[in-house]
């Protein structure tokens, strides 16, 4: 168990150190997120009634698509640069590698998502500095990352990874999307636990199930 935690943390720390130094993934993902937000800004007339209706949808479409970009890079970069084998040769269970990668992907996504709060405020007058929304953001992002990290390991070994990851990923995380949009709607209209609670529990249940499932499947996916 200790070995598992230590290795997972080593992978996470290594990823964070690389990211801090190169800011490769982070800058690409942040730039993409801001662009998407602006595109929606041009596409919709930001009157309060319209925003109340489509705001939550916009937010989560933006988050999911930037997430896909980030998650694709998780394994694509390791594979292209030949370092994935170094991880595979380590005498640790594959679950530890999965856990480390999950943690680093989630961290990057969360940082970008939070950085987007002021952007959404500026463009749509959506105040996302709301504890319930933050909770939804965290749990939903973890949900995306559990499935996305696993499928990224698959997509990274193919020629069409930009297409394959969204295709595999989106149907599976559909429940999280629905939950995230619905609970965001509730959170932003001030519903608190009453409106958000049920969805939050739902998303957390999804996270737990798919965390276990992905951890288990990771070995099968990487085996040559």
């Amino acid at each position: 168990m200790i070995r598992y935690l230590r290795s997972a943390f080593a992978v996470y720390a290594k990823d964070m150190r690389l990211e801090a130094r190169t800011k490769e993934t982070f800058s690409a993902v942040l730039a993409f997120a801001v662009i998407i937000a602006f595109v929606f800004g041009f596409a919709f007339d930001p009157s309060p009634s319209v925003i109340a209706l489509v705001g939550p949808g916009i937010i989560w479409v933006a988050y999911v698509f930037t997430g896909i970009l980030g998650m694709n890079r998780t394994f694509a970069v390791e594979r292209d640069r030949g370092t994935l084998e170094g991880l595979l040769l380590a005498p640790v269970g594959r679950e530890a590698i999965y856990a480390g990668k999950l943690a680093s992907t989630t961290t990057i996504m969360l940082v970008v998502e939070v950085l987007l709060y002021p952007v959404f405020l500026l463009l749509f007058e959506l105040n996302l500095f709301n504890i319930w929304f933050v909770l939804v953001t965290v749990t939903a992002t973890v949900g995306f990352a559990t499935v996305g990290t696993l499928f990224s390991a698959i997509a990274a070994h193919t020629r069409a990874r930009e297409v394959l990851l969204p295709l595999l990923f989106l149907p599976i995380i559909l429940p999280v999307m629905i939950g995230a949009v619905a609970s965001t709607s509730a959170a932003l209209s001030g519903d608190g636990w009453g409106g958000v609670g049920k969805w939050l529990q739902f998303i957390i249940a999804f996270d737990l199930v798919f965390l276990v499932l992905s951890s288990w499947a990771f070995d099968f996916v990487l085996e040559e």
Binding site: L164, L174, F202, A217
Partner: protein, 231 residues
């Protein structure tokens, strides 16, 4: 060689053809024309739509189950069954979506209804497509089989979540349309025809899967022989 001998498979295909012809008769001659509200002649498509959707879901269950067994036992037979189920299932789902759209537009003025069944059908269709595509992109057949198996299992695990989420979402957005999935009260002939259609499609499913899995088995034997010859 495959899961059923040639004789059985031919028998199944023959049986399926028989059922299908009888079904066509029932749908177009036996059942009286539906009410205006349900679409008059267009409503007959209902007897193709519901069984296709249902069989699509059954194929998914079969594919997911076979995938689990394949990962546990690594026996090619189970991968072939899963693969065949996925192919046939994709076909059924495509028919379900197509017929659903054709029926929905004139009757409910919308191309697709995002109720629980509709959402589930669409989502599983996408999962199946991903399942088939991932195999063609995999570096080896064996790896593709493993990846596909994982995808099928994930899809199955997501089903209860999709069901719940779509159900709650439906509840929130109260312009409920009684979509193509609604049964309501049905006249005797309609019920009978529907049941018969279900059985027809089930037989078709079994016949097609058996045939496809056997085909795959033969393809794999050929590959095996090729390898041995070049050794």
């Amino acid at each position: 060689m495959g899961i059923a001998g040639l004789g059985i498979r031919q028998g199944l295909l023959g049986l399926a053809a028989l059922f299908f012809l009888t079904d066509l008769y029932l749908i177009f001659q036996y059942v009286p024309t539906a009410s205006e509200a349900l679409g008059l002649q267009v409503q007959r498509i209902f007897y193709f739509h519901v069984p296709s959707a249902l069989l699509g879901m059954i194929s998914f269950a079969v594919a997911a189950f076979a995938s689990v067994v394949y990962l546990a036992k690594r026996a090619r037979k189970w991968d072939r069954i899963a693969w065949a189920s996925a192919e046939v299932g994709t076909l059924f789902f495509t028919v379900a979506i197509g017929t659903g759209a054709i029926w929905a537009k004139p009757v409910w003025q919308t191309w697709w209804v995002w109720d629980v069944n509709g959402t589930l059908t669409f989502m599983l269709w996408l999962v199946f497509i991903g399942y088939l595509i991932v195999r063609s992109y995999a570096p080896t057949v064996e790896r593709g089989s493993r990846w596909a198996a994982v995808i099928a299992i994930f899809g199955a695990a997501a089903v209860p979540f999709v069901y719940m989420a779509a159900d709650w979402w439906e509840g929130l957005h109260t312009e409920r349309i009684t979509g193509p999935g609604a049964r309501g009260s049905m006249e005797h002939e309609m019920f009978l025809t529907l049941m018969f259609s279900l059985v027809t499609f089930l037989v078709l499913f079994i016949a097609l899967v058996a045939e496809r899995a056997a085909q795959r088995g033969i393809e794999e034997s050929i590959e095996e022989l090729r390898r041995e010859v070049s050794a």
